[in-house]
């Protein structure tokens, strides 16, 4: 660790705080003005792109809770993303078909209800799968989370009733008050609002007593046991919260794309989520958002050049893994880490 001159650090601390605030304001302005700019540029597809980035930012942030802050390398997070999406899709299907799910749960096209259902369902999946997975650690944990995600993938593939491999079309976006959800700009702002609320809650969470324990788990579990904390419970709760967050993002995605498919639960989706977290630098509030923007941006740009963009993305990822300590953001920070 670098041993800074205390005086210099003291001087730069308020400056860094100012930079942070300035950065946030800039980001907020950019996000708010984006649709205007996009239309002005005659490129409305940018709004769709931005919406995808916002949704994945939420998904990546949810993974960051357990990966960046908690130190749990979960390679199956896309499973909860997919479960959330399917919750929306299945509920809409039963709404438009007029018959209840499992005989007694009525379908719905109400945005808030569907979102709540998505969150609850993915939390439940996370509870069961997490309870089992967290009995292991390290390499085993990584493999098991991956394997369980595959299992959920196959579950949805086998549900021919809901499209199976081909996926399920959601004909219309869910209804939220009297907003015109079909309008891409409106939907973009809805997602943005959800993202803001989510990040505020997340910010309080990581600064809370629970968050402090979670950070401790990442740094030294043995130490936590030695002060009387049974770490399994906290890890499980974090895992469930993270799963719920991914489900929320999945629900937003289902509405955005008006389509859900087992592809959302693909292992490479889980990989992409991890990459977003790592790219942006784990254990920071906005790191995952930065990572999401970067990865999706990179993919979009590269796809424009060549069909074989993964051939170039691969080595880029390798270089980032080998030569940065803490993701892209760490390149712009000084050595003090900036962990929340």
């Amino acid at each position: 660790m670098f041993k800074a001159d205390t005086a210099a650090v003291a001087k730069s601390a308020p400056r860094r705080a100012m930079l942070r605030v300035a950065g946030l304001v800039a980001l907020a302005l950019f996000a708010l003005l984006l649709p205007r700019v996009a239309t002005a540029l005659g490129n409305p597809a940018l709004i769709s792109l931005a919406t995808r980035m916002v949704i994945y930012a939420i998904a990546a942030a949810s993974l960051n809770l357990i990966l960046g802050y908690g130190g749990m390398v979960s390679f199956g997070h896309a499973a909860y993303f997919g479960v959330g999406g399917y919750a929306v899709g299945i509920l809409y299907y039963h709404f438009s078909a007029g018959e209840p799910f499992l005989g007694f749960i009525p379908g719905t096209n109400q945005f808030l209800v569907a979102l709540a259902a998505a969150i609850l369902t993915s939390a439940l999946f996370a509870l069961v799968l997490g309870a089992l997975s967290l009995r292991t650690a390290g390499l085993q944990f990584i493999m098991i989370t991956l394997a369980f995600a595959q299992m959920v993938f196959f579950l949805f593939v086998s549900l021919k009733y809901y499209g199976g491999d081909d996926g399920l079309i959601v004909r219309r976006r869910d209804v939220l008050f009297n907003l015109n959800m079909a309008d891409d700009t409106t939907y973009y702002f809805v997602c943005l609002a959800v993202a803001v609320v989510y990040h505020v809650v997340f910010w309080r969470l990581v600064g809370s007593q629970f968050g402090l324990v979670l950070g401790g788990i990442r740094q030294n579990e043995r130490r936590l046991a030695a002060i009387g904390i049974s770490t399994y419970r906290y890890k499980l709760v974090a895992f469930v919260i993270a799963g719920a967050g991914a489900g929320l993002a999945g629900a937003l995605m289902a509405n955005f794309a008006k389509f859900v498919s087992p592809d959302m639960l693909n292992w490479s989706r889980s990989g992409e989520l991890m990459i977003m977290v790592i790219l942006g630098g784990g254990a920071t509030l906005l790191g995952p958002a930065v990572g999401a923007v970067l990865l999706i941006g990179l993919e979009t740009v590269l796809t424009g050049w060549t069909e074989h963009w993964q051939f170039y993305l691969g080595p880029i990822l390798i270089l980032i893994a080998l030569f940065t300590r803490d993701g892209i953001l760490s390149l712009f920070k000084d050595g003090s880490g900036g962990r929340d």
């Binding site: 660790m1 969470l205 007593q209 402090l212 030294n220 130490r223 030695a226 002060i227 962990r339």
Partner: protein, 250 residues
């Protein structure tokens, strides 16, 4: 008549053909500072780890305040009043010294399933943590990241964290190791002051420290306790002299 706080009965632990603990029996009385000494490889740290629940013994029983704690996990043992300092420090390196102690205070107060309020602004917890740091003499380093603290400071922090959980029995595993003479002296004074508050089981190599602080001393040789007694008893015992032959003066 002082009660027995900790009773170790016939503790056995083998690693392959090596018996780190070989039918070890030992009693610690409530309120005393009980030192455990012995030549290298006598099984002292293994003993502490078994008491703390980090190693599962092959045989034998551990009784704490009249209760068999064999089946309890480490965290559970801490919650009923044990605490430990580690020989190789186990600290949360990215957090500050204050964070580390505050977390222990927070844990001692109950569960940490609180998700909204800023933990670092929790007055009662932070103040108690600062008090504990001040007792150790580390209050000036409260806001320093542990990774930036010296080895000596880190060892002192270990002690502070253990104290923050208000233990009934404090297991100290070579707290003087790696400390300079000044830090050593401070720690000795601190331990002396602690004697009235908590029972201490002290594993140490430094004989001066042991003789200065201990009410009773147990000598471990090859995983067994060969004698328990006062400093005088131990100094004059033949078996002990033989065991330490070549390891320097007692």
């Amino acid at each position: 008549m002082t009660e027995t706080l900790l009773r170790i009965a016939n503790l056995t632990k083998r690693f392959g053909s090596l018996a780190a603990s070989d039918g070890l029996s030992l009693d610690v009385l409530d309120g005393e500072l009980h030192a455990v000494i012995g030549p290298n490889g006598a099984g002292k740290t293994t003993l502490i780890s078994q008491l703390f629940g980090e190693i599962v013994p092959d045989d034998g029983a551990i009784w704490f305040a009249g209760r068999n704690i064999n089946a309890l996990s480490t965290a559970e043992r801490v919650r009923i009043g044990l605490a430990r300092s580690f020989q190789i420090t186990q600290l949360l390196l990215d957090y500050t010294a204050l964070d580390n102690v505050a977390l222990a205070v927070q844990a001692h107060r109950g569960h940490s399933f609180r998700f909204w309020a800023n933990a670092r602004r929790d007055r009662p917890v932070r103040e108690r943590a600062l008090e504990t740091l001040a007792r150790i003499g580390l209050e000036r380093r409260a806001d320093t990241a542990v990774s930036e603290m010296s080895h000596g400071e880190q060892k002192q922090l270990e002690l502070a964290i253990a104290l923050a959980t208000r233990p009934r029995l404090l297991l100290l595993d070579e707290p003087m190791a790696g400390l300079g003479p000044a830090e050593c002296a401070t720690t000795v004074e601190l331990l002396r002051g602690l004697k009235s508050e908590t029972t201490i089981l002290l594993v140490e190599h430094d004989m001066e420290v042991v003789f200065a602080l201990a009410d009773r001393i147990s000598v471990l040789v090859n995983g067994r306790c060969v004698i328990t007694g006062t400093a005088e008893d131990v100094r004059n015992d033949e078996t002990v002299r033989t065991a330490y032959l070549g390891e320097g003066d007692l």
